[in-house]
């Protein structure tokens, strides 16, 4: 029984700690100026955030989470939400938050100047802050890049059994298909995706996993975001996979964003706007580009050397908001086409 008593003491102690956390969650009353950030982006922004605090004296309190869940929490908290800024990956998620009325429009000359028009909301409720390209990746020892051309051509029977793809439930693939629908309409896109499915792609969870599968020779061609490859190349310059810029003769390579908006019920709206503006300026954009190896949205910032080595490319300039508008249609289309 002695041991039970000591267990009890332990648990009582644990309860004490919990009780400390049960207490009031700090509300809008704030001592120093701060902004509260709900973010579904978890990598490569720390330096830029620190620079913001250093420059403005505004501290940043963050809550990390999954995009769908942050959305639910923001909505449930309503006008009493402590959040000032919602930051997430994928334009579809931003579009959805804006549609639900969770984001307020921001009029800012600075943001309009720094962020190209197709990478922000036409109604100014969110702004892309980093750009990512999703393109064709191939094993340099097994594939002649002359055989590659477009996303659409991956449905060609020559790639049968040679493709590695993420599942169609994966958000970046949904966005890719959504913009394809925007360009070609549903019937043609469905034909394309049926072609992919007919090639019996290996469905692999994780862009890095796909790149490793390409390197190991499990498949020859895949679709991933470029920064995953950049990170692998930073570790091993001889990693035998290279990107092929898709659709250069047609629509341009598909791009997506991570970005942010000011919440509809922000308690520190001015601070939140300052924050977004800062992130779009050259110093912050440079930090993003250097740590996360994505593309800066601000054309003045310099692209990281590894990424620059792949050469310039033509990006699809359809507004990324269409990734959201057509995402549900893209998901249904993939289901119909038999692309898992």
């Amino acid at each position: 029984m002695h041991s039970i008593a000591s267990m009890l003491r332990l648990t009582v102690a644990a309860c004490g700690i919990v009780a400390a956390g049960l207490g009031p969650v700090p509300g809008p009353a704030r001592a120093a100026e701060e902004i509260v950030l709900y973010t579904a982006r978890h990598y490569g922004q720390e330096k830029a955030f620190e620079a913001f605090t250093e420059k403005t004296g505004i501290t940043i309190k963050t809550l990390n989470g999954d995009a769908g869940q942050m959305f639910e929490r923001l909505r449930a908290e309503g006008d009493r939400s402590p959040a000032d800024v919602f930051f997430t990956v994928d334009a579809g998620n931003l579009w959805n938050a804006a549609r639900a009325g969770l984001l307020a429009p921001v009029t800012s000359a600075e943001l309009a100047k720094n962020v190209p028009a197709h990478l922000r909301d036409p109604d100014s409720r969110w702004f892309g802050l980093t750009m990512r390209a999703r393109t064709i990746m191939y094993n340099v020892k097994k594939v002649n890049p002359a055989d590659l051309s477009t996303y659409e051509a991956l449905g060609d029977p020559r790639w049968k059994g040679r493709l590695c793809l993420r599942s169609s439930g994966y958000i970046y693939n949904q966005s890719l298909l959504a913009t394809m629908i925007k360009r070609h309409g549903e019937p043609r896109t469905e034909q394309v995706v049926k072609g992919w499915a007919a090639n019996q792609p290996a469905i692999i969870s994780g862009d890095t996993k796909i790149l490793e599968a390409l390197a190991a020779g499990q498949c020859d061609v895949g679709l991933t975001n470029t920064y995953y490859l950049a990170r692998l190349l930073a570790k091993d310059p001889n990693f035998p996979v290279a990107p092929f810029w898709a659709n250069q003769a047609t629509t341009g390579t598909h791009v997506n964003v991570s970005g942010a908006g000011v919440t509809a019920h922000a308690k520190n709206r001015a601070g939140a706007v300052k924050f977004l503006e800062f992130l779009s300026t050259l110093p912050a954009q440079q930090m993003f580009a250097d740590t996360s190896l994505e593309f800066p949205v601000n054309p003045k910032a310099e692209i990281n050397a590894i990424v620059r080595g792949w050469g310039p490319f033509k990006a699809d300039d359809v507004n990324v908001a269409s990734a959201g508008e057509l995402q549900a249609a893209a998901t249904r289309l993939a289901d119909r086409a038999g692309y898992k």
């Binding site: 332990l10 309860c15 700690i17 009031p24 929490r73 439930g169 969870s205 862009d207 998901t331």
Partner: protein, 546 residues
């Protein structure tokens, strides 16, 4: 005889409390049901035309395979360590619980890393036997079922082991003295007596399989949880996703009815607290080697391989030494939430199990069972189910504050440790209740009657008779909840206070960016934090009374 005399009386405070608990925990489940008030016919038509059959068949098949797998592996290992003596048995006895401390998706990922096409296993195979050599595809129903069996068998093992310890050897001895062979005695006497524990363990494992999202998505295997995620995040349709989740609730309900039926009407009870003094049979020669080998194989696959992989990854970053910032903060949040969950859920589970014991009506059983169904739902669905009533309470508190104080309170329950603990209760009450109940039904009701006839009142009976006998069951329950809560992700992510971060969240943030090397350190920490209580329990429950 039994306790029929207590029926038909006015509801006791105990029953009222149990009812209130069950109701509170059922609210988020009912929220799932209310999704049906809104139409989502188009999504259902689409699912029906494309994949619904596949999702349901995959889900059912997976749950059944995991049920069968954990039953065989868990029961066999438990019987091995209780009934036999062989090299390493003392270590295996506690070590076989260890896989429970490793999050399922970590085991899954390590498995893929090792056995995948480009991994060391198949690369070696190709070097040895040429390019054509390959293992069966791991990204398949069998692969997922194998991994889940390895992750979840400890539920069956733990419960079976304590059941076998309490009566197994003595029963075996008795059966053999009646001239039964060892095998026959095991299958006809020992196993049926342990049935409530086995069934409880298996149903926990099956509910885990129903609710899992991390592992199936790692393996690109399509089940209902994957479909829910796809509808929710891909089609931005939470209503339809929640309706789809209610299919899982139906499956869980069917499972629980099945469990009831399988547990049977007979009540198996023990007459002694534990330890019959009968020694296990000593194995020699190839039998001993086979026993050791079987334990080693399971432990190697389910624990050594994934943890070894984690340590390798951790080693990669130790040079760069990017230790997680605020590691103590991570530990404190993890301990506080898991400890709070273990304590509160054991108390709730005990109240429920006790109420059912004293008032064993079918209605009471149903209520208790229903309150544990949150376990079969994906954590994300439970989390949103919790969010709705908590946000409603926040609204109520605001109006109350307005009315009484003239201003709304400056805090929200949404985003508090209380909300997280509530979600844990919804999700893990099954673990607490099932485990405690399985222990409680083995205590003969004649003990209660004896105590009553001696004039001992109810609370004293609980304290002096049941709790000492239930010690093993309670500790097992506490530990299972602790480990579950420590690994829990979606509800913690959604409902936690600003600035609180657990080890599981740190791991998730890093892995969602494919940064496995950096995720390895906090993942190892999860395993270590889970190991400590696992070993403590095993130590406490395996000590025999003097």
């Amino acid at each position: 005889m039994s306790l029929a005399g207590t029926r038909g009386l006015r509801p006791s405070p105990l029953v009222l409390t149990a009812g209130a608990i069950a109701l509170a925990v059922a609210v988020p489940l009912l929220v799932v049901g209310t999704a049906w008030r809104q139409p989502a016919g188009a999504v259902w038509r689409h699912l029906w035309q494309t994949q619904l059959a596949e999702l349901v068949v995959n889900t059912l098949g997976l749950a059944l395979a995991v049920g069968a797998g954990t039953l065989v592996v868990g029961t066999a290992l438990a019987w091995l360590v209780v009934a036999y003596r062989f090299p390493g048995r003392r270590v295996f006895e506690w070590a076989l619980v260890l896989p429970l401390a490793v999050p399922a998706y970590v085991i899954g990922f390590a498995f893929l890393g090792f056995f995948d096409w480009g991994g060391p296993a198949q690369s070696a195979l190709r070097r040895a036997f040429g390019e054509g050599a390959r293992l069966p595809e791991l990204r398949s129903g069998w692969g997922v079922a194998l991994v889940m069996t390895l992750v979840f068998y400890p539920y069956v093992y733990l419960l079976a082991r304590s059941a076998f310890r309490e009566h197994g050897l003595a029963t075996l001895e008795a059966a053999r003295s009646l001239g039964h062979g060892r095998r026959r005695a095991f299958f006809e006497t020992v196993l049926p007596m342990a049935r409530p524990s086995l069934v409880a363990g298996v149903s926990l494992a099956m509910m885990e399989a129903l609710a899992d999202f991390g592992t199936v998505s790692t393996f690109s295997y399509r089940t209902l949880t994957e479909g829910i995620y796809r509808v929710w995040n891909g089609m931005f349709d939470r209503v339809a996703a929640t309706q789809l989740a209610s299919l899982l609730l139906l499956l869980a309900m069917a499972l629980l009815l099945l469990e009831r039926a399988l547990r049977g009407r007979r009540r198996f009870t023990q007459s002694r607290s534990r330890g019959s003094g009968v020694e296990g049979e000593r194995l020699t020669g190839w039998r001993a080697r086979a026993a050791t080998g079987a334990c080693l194989a399971v432990l190697g696959l389910a624990f050594v391989l994934p943890v070894g992989q984690l340590l390798l990854w951790a080693g990669e970053v130790v040079g760069g030494a990017r230790a997680p910032r605020n590691f103590l903060g991570l530990l404190a949040s993890t301990f506080a939430l898991s400890g709070g969950a273990a304590l509160s859920i054991c108390v709730l589970g005990l109240i429920l199990a006790y109420a059912v014991r004293l008032h064993p009506s079918p209605g009471a059983r149903f209520v208790a069972q229903f309150s544990s169904m949150g376990y079969a739902l994906p954590g994300a669905v439970v989390a949103v189910g919790v969010l709705a009533p908590v946000a409603w309470l926040d609204g109520l508190l605001r109006d109350l504050g307005q009315l009484v104080l003239g201003r709304p309170p400056e805090w929200l329950l949404t985003g508090s440790a209380a909300a997280v603990l509530f979600a844990y209760a919804v999700r893990f009450l099954a673990v607490g209740y099932q485990t405690i109940d399985a222990g409680l039904v083995r205590i003969p009701t004649s003990f209660d009657e004896a105590a009553r006839s001696l004039g001992v009142r109810l609370p004293a009976t609980l304290r002096r008779v049941h709790l000492p006998l239930l010690r093993g069951g309670l500790l097992t329950a506490a530990i299972l909840v602790w480990v579950e809560a420590m690994k829990e992700l979606p509800a913690t992510l959604l409902l936690r206070p600003l600035g609180w971060k657990t080890l599981a969240i740190e791991v998730w943030e890093l892995t969602s960016e494919s940064r496995w090397a950096e995720a390895a350190l906090p993942a190892v920490a999860i395993v270590l934090v889970g190991l400590f209580p696992l070993m403590l329990t095993t130590h406490l429950t395996s000590r025999r009374p003097d």
